[in-house]
Amino acid sequence: MGNIKAVYLKEVRGYFNTPMAYIFLTIFALVNGYFFTNTFFLIGQSDLRSLFSTIPLVYLFFIPAVSMGLIARERNIGTIEIMNTLPLKTNEFVIGKFLAALTLILVALAVTSIHFFTLIQVGDNVDTGAVISGYIGLALVGALYTSIGTFASSVTENQVVSFIIGVFIVLTFWLLDKLLIFIPTSVAGLVQYLAVEYHLSNISRGVIDTRNLVYFFSIIGFFLYLTIHMLDLRKWKAG
């Protein structure tokens, strides 16, 4: 636990000691703000639905970019050797890293809540419950994508390659839902269950079902497990 905290703090400090975090936060806020306010006053509806449909799209590139350096950079500059020779378990290392990236995502998400306050000021009959469940859904999707990004970062020591792999896997999970019409009905149910959007839309509607939670936590666990495995595997290969 102490080790996870140490890795987590080091990583968060690494984000905020460099311009990295601020650039990411600014871009995330600007892009989402632009797409949201563009239509917000035209449509004139008292909800954040357009924001909630923009953020998952921005996530597709934003999260792999945040997490691409998590492990790839350690391998690139060689500090992985320090990490692996400290009395530090691989899972503590990976979880600390994952939580640090997730923190940055959640901060970025929190910044967009400014639109919620705008909404309260200008709109009436605001459905606070829907907004809260929407945010919970987005946080879960963020965590899921971060776990994918962490995994992508452990595959290679090149951050650009890790970014591309991350975007690819994230995009696959995102597009599964859109591919349903091409898929035979026998497996359609399974594919739909794997699709992120299916679970996100459930949660956004205000229905937080255990099925959805199980989905998110098992996929996150799966990718973190793969990451730990990838790192342990490295020991056996050429250094």
């Binding site: 102490g2 140490a6 080091k10 500090t79 992985i80 050797e81 320090i82 692996n84 378990k89």
Partner: protein
């Protein structure tokens, strides 16, 4: 041997008065052994090697980087691991520190196997990797604090530990600077400080002085010697003078095989056969030249050349004899005037070159 140990334990448990020996188990064991139930092997009683390497092998694909090496290191030794680049030094050190898993063979540190108790072993080791990787964006203080946290040093002990390593490694002026702004020499010291922040019993330093200027090298060398007084230090280098100046014991590794193990004197005695002697004289007659090998049988004439009225001879003699006195008397008898007489004592560099080259010739 096992049976005897069991028998010892049975006696130990059944005889009630033996309980007074509980705190003196070891001496009782020696006492028991003195009855000659089993041949006494002093190694078994004092088998306390801090690092014990047995048949350690590492393959990278088809390349055998380390080929079934064996060596032991006791507490308090400063051992130098010497070899050309790519000889397998770093690979071996990486296996001891648990960064790489061995293909076969075992690494035991303080009686624990690296495969089973890796974390426990890593707690006792301080390691400076060859490339000395550091997080440039962190400050020296932040970095050392992070290492200390993972090492389980609590906050109030950290201040003390920090003060200790800052003093030892001479980091005073840079503690709050960011690592990326530090010079190469400071970075090396930061790496060292990080390796010893938890005051480990074992320090493994992979090429600790590369890239440092001569003054810094002397400082680091003194530091390592100082540390070696109470700790086990295993350092690697491809620079002979460095190893020679710092360590008690040298392990030479070449192409993944340990080819020599001993103090630098031992290595020179074992591996450098004869000493060469250069003699320059004036007024040497041909017959007296021919005579010298007969008069002083230890000397073998290798070559001679004549320049004006100066003769230059190259002799060779076995290390045990020193023929210089005899040569002087012979020169006086024959009316030679000695201009120069220089024995070429072999240095470690030659030992190293002979050892690694002969291996190279075979491969």
């Amino acid at each position: 041997m096992e049976n005897n140990r069991e028998l010892f334990l049975v006696i130990h448990r059944t005889i009630p008065f033996s309980t007074i020996f509980i705190k003196m188990k070891k001496s009782f064991w020696i006492f028991y052994k003195s009855f000659n139930f089993a041949p006494v092997n002093s190694n078994e009683i004092v088998d306390h090697y801090m690092i014990k390497i047995t048949n350690l092998t590492k393959n990278y694909g088809n390349v055998e980087a380390v080929k079934s090496i064996n060596f032991n290191i006791s507490d308090g030794e400063i051992v130098g691991f010497l070899g050309a680049n790519g000889a397998g030094k770093t690979t071996t050190l990486k296996m001891i520190t648990g960064f790489l898993a061995p293909t076969s063979g075992s690494v035991e540190v303080n009686g624990m196997d690296i495969g089973e108790s890796q974390l426990e072993i890593q707690r006792q080791i301080g390691y400076l990797p060859e490339t000395n990787p550091l997080y440039g964006e962190m400050s020296v203080h932040e970095y050392l604090e992070f290492i200390a946290q993972v090492r389980g040093i609590v906050k109030k002990d950290f201040t003390k530990a920090l003060r200790r390593v800052v003093a030892k490694c001479g980091l005073k002026g840079v503690v709050h600077k960011s690592i990326s702004s530090c010079s190469k020499g400071y970075r090396q010291r930061i790496g060292l400080a990080a390796a010893m922040i938890h005051d480990p019993d074992i320090l493994i330093l992979d090429e600790p002085v590369t890239g440092l200027d001569p003054n810094q090298i002397v400082e680091i060398r003194e530091l390592i010697k100082d540390l070696g007084k109470e700790k086990l230090v295993l350092m690697s280098s491809h620079i002979l003078q460095e190893i020679q100046a710092t360590v008690d014991r040298i392990l030479i590794i070449d192409k993944g095989v340990i080819i020599a193990d001993g103090t630098s004197e031992e290595l020179m005695n074992n591996f450098m056969g004869n000493v060469k002697l250069t003699l320059e004289v004036k007024n040497a007659e041909d017959d007296s030249i021919a005579d010298i090998s007969e008069k002083i049988p230890e000397l073998t004439l290798l070559s001679s050349e004549k320049k004006g009225d100066l003769h230059r001879f190259n002799f060779e003699y076995a290390r045990e004899f020193d023929p210089r006195e005899a040569v002087f008397h012979y020169a006086v008898e024959s009316g030679w005037v000695i201009f120069k007489m220089t024995p070429h004592t072999a240095n470690l560099e030659e030992v190293f070159r002979t050892l690694t080259n002969s291996e190279g010739g075979n491969g």
